[in-house]
């Protein structure tokens, strides 16, 4: 702490230069306490999340919704979004394709997401989901990893799913052996245009810009939505305004909003207690901003007096 030799540093000035480690310690306490003693504050629904929910609700039964799992092993923002949208799509009677451009998200996370949603559906007794998930490959299929992000997505639009890009699904079953079809058209004949909605759960690059450049820009498939990580939410509003995407699910909060919209609390695996921890940390940062500025004003006033 900057100690001014001749003038005793007033308590106000100390506010301007608190040591980082106190901030880290208080942040840690702010985050841990609500996890142990949750308060469960209510959440408002933002229009961007409602847009995605309503889009799926208005799709005719049997339409194909694709979930592009473009995130890694950090399961705090995109994974809850993917879980709740996957559960809602099955509950709404849609056919769901899981795939992705990030190897961990597309192959490993998609596998245990299916199991976790099956357990959730059995636990909470949502029959539409349990029946939809009865046989693998009937109402949902996990195609796994798109090898070359740019080329692969381009081929999905130009050449099609089968045989080059997805000869087998994520578990090694040959695609032609799976019963997955859309009103009679088998998955082996699918092109990007056959998908009614693709939600890209993007943690970074490769992400929505690949689908924008190779699907939206070429006019092959223009129904895109995004499950966004907090940092890039602000940057996606221009895409939504330009009509490139129909909606944005913003960070963990979006997943919890989607839970409430779909009437399936817990589908995203996030508890309201986690949101209380978020609230406390947000509040602490606002307090920090105030303290910092009070300290700065005090220092500038002392400098003006001296």
């Amino acid at each position: 702490m900057a100690v001014v030799e001749e003038k005793k540093v007033g308590t106000w000035e100390k506010l301007a230069s608190i040591d980082r480690r106190w901030i880290f310690l208080v942040s840690f306490i702010m985050i841990v306490t609500p996890l142990i003693y949750p308060v469960k504050l209510p959440i408002g629904i933002s229009p961007e999340t409602a847009a995605v929910y309503n889009y799926i609700e208005n799709l005719p039964k049997g339409s194909v919704v694709a979930l592009s799992m473009d995130f890694g092993s950090y399961l705090s923002e995109n994974y809850p979004q993917a879980r709740t949208v996957f559960a809602h799509a099955l509950k709404a009677g849609m056919k769901v394709i899981l795939m992705g451009m990030w190897s961990y998200g597309a192959t490993i996370t998609s596998s245990f997401m299916i199991d976790e949603i099956r357990d959730y559906a059995e636990r909470t007794g949502i029959t539409q989901i349990t029946s939809a998930m009865a046989t693998y490959g009937e109402n949902y299929v996990n195609l796994g990893y798109i090898l070359q992000a740019g080329t692969g997505v381009m081929q999905l639009a130009e050449v099609g799913f089968y045989p080059l890009l997805f000869p087998k699904d994520n578990y090694g079953n040959l695609l032609e052996t799976l019963p997955f079809n859309k009103f009679g058209k088998h998955i082996t004949e699918f092109m990007a245009a056959d998908l009614d909605l693709l939600i890209c759960f993007a943690a970074g690059t490769p992400g929505i810009e690949v689908y924008r450049n190779y699907w939206w820009a070429t006019g092959r498939m223009t129904h895109l939505a995004i499950g966004a990580v907090g940092v890039s939410v602000a940057g996606y509003y221009p895409l939504m305004d330009a009509g490139i995407i129909i909606g944005i699910i913003p960070s963990t909060r979006g997943a919890l909003e989607y839970d409430q919209l779909a009437g399936m609390i817990g589908a995203s695996g996030q508890s309201l207690g986690a949101m209380d921890a978020q609230s406390l940390q947000h509040l602490f940062i606002v307090v920090l901003l105030i303290i910092g500025n009070v300290g700065t004003i005090a220092m500038s006033r002392r400098r003006r007096e001296a």
Binding site: A16, I18, R20, I23, F24, S27, F28, I31, L41, P42, I43, G44, S46, P47, E48, G72, S73, Y74, T107, I108, S111, F112, D115, L147, Q148, G150, T151, M154, Q155, E158, V159, N170, Y171, V233, A234, G235, Y237, P238, M240, D241, P250, S251, R253, M275, D276, Q278, S279, L280, Q281, H282, L283, I285, V286, L288, L289, I291, G292, N293, T296, I297
Partner: protein, 235 residues
């Protein structure tokens, strides 16, 4: 003409190759002919295969740097030795982790080894005890650094920093449920308005600027004015 005659592999070929591939790539996107479209699709896969051949550089480079640390017993050589040991151990384990590890608990965690040495369990430990938690935790350090960065840099010194502070705090309060508890639901709609109007306009202006800058940089590199990236001009 003299320049063309003195063409040698070091300088001119890289720049020319970049130019040819650039013009071809752009042409194939604007003027459709079956051969060029097919050649482009193959050229992209060609680039993918050639690019992924370079994966070994990471192993060699790290072995060189940390190997020399150990050899010369530089400060912290112990950690370099540990790094090299775990690296080669992880490579051998990874090559042999063919089968998915957890069958019975249903979560078929699939590992992809080239061979079947039965090292899935050690592979599971390496991924779930070291790499995943470490990467998530180092990522989560950001939550603490964001608090200290906000505290340190959002100080009102003029209009600019005031705008930064106000827009940041409003969006921040609008996002967390506690914001609407204190200031009522209005803050949520205010946050959505800030994000979809002023924020959107500012972000749009930057994106247009970036598109223009990217095109200018592409022209400079393709036409060989900017030689450093293709190292065409270097000695």
């Amino acid at each position: 003409m003299a320049k063309l005659i003195a063409m040698d592999l070091k300088k001119t070929v890289p720049v020319t190759l970049a130019f040819i591939m650039g013009i071809f790539g752009a042409f194939a996107y604007f003027y459709y002919t079956k051969p060029t479209a097919d050649v482009l699709a193959n050229a992209i896969v060609f680039d993918g295969v050639m690019g992924s051949m370079a994966m070994g550089i990471s192993l060699i480079n790290i072995s060189l740097i940390h190997g020399r640390n150990v050899q010369r017993k530089r400060k912290g050589w112990f950690f370099s030795l540990l790094l090299l040991a775990v690296m080669y151990f992880g490579l051998i384990i990874g090559l042999g982790a063919m089968k998915p590890f957890i069958e019975e608990t249903g979560t078929k965690v699939q590992y992809y080894g080239l061979f079947d040495w039965g090292t899935e369990s050690i592979g599971y430990f390496l991924v779930n005890a070291i790499t995943n938690p470490a990467s998530t935790t180092v990522f989560s350090l950001l939550a603490f650094y964001i608090a200290s960065a906000a505290y340190r840099s959002f100080r009102v010194r003029g209009i600019d920093s005031a705008i930064l502070l106000i827009s940041g705090s409003l969006v921040l309060l609008g996002q967390a449920p506690i914001g609407s508890v204190i200031f009522g639901p209005g803050i949520g709609t205010l946050r959505t308005w800030i994000l979809s109007v002023p924020n959107m306009a500012g972000s749009r202006g930057c994106q247009i600027g970036i598109a223009i800058g990217a095109i200018a940089m592409s022209i400079r590199v393709l036409f060989g004015y900017e030689r450093k990236p293709t190292l065409g001009g270097m000695g």
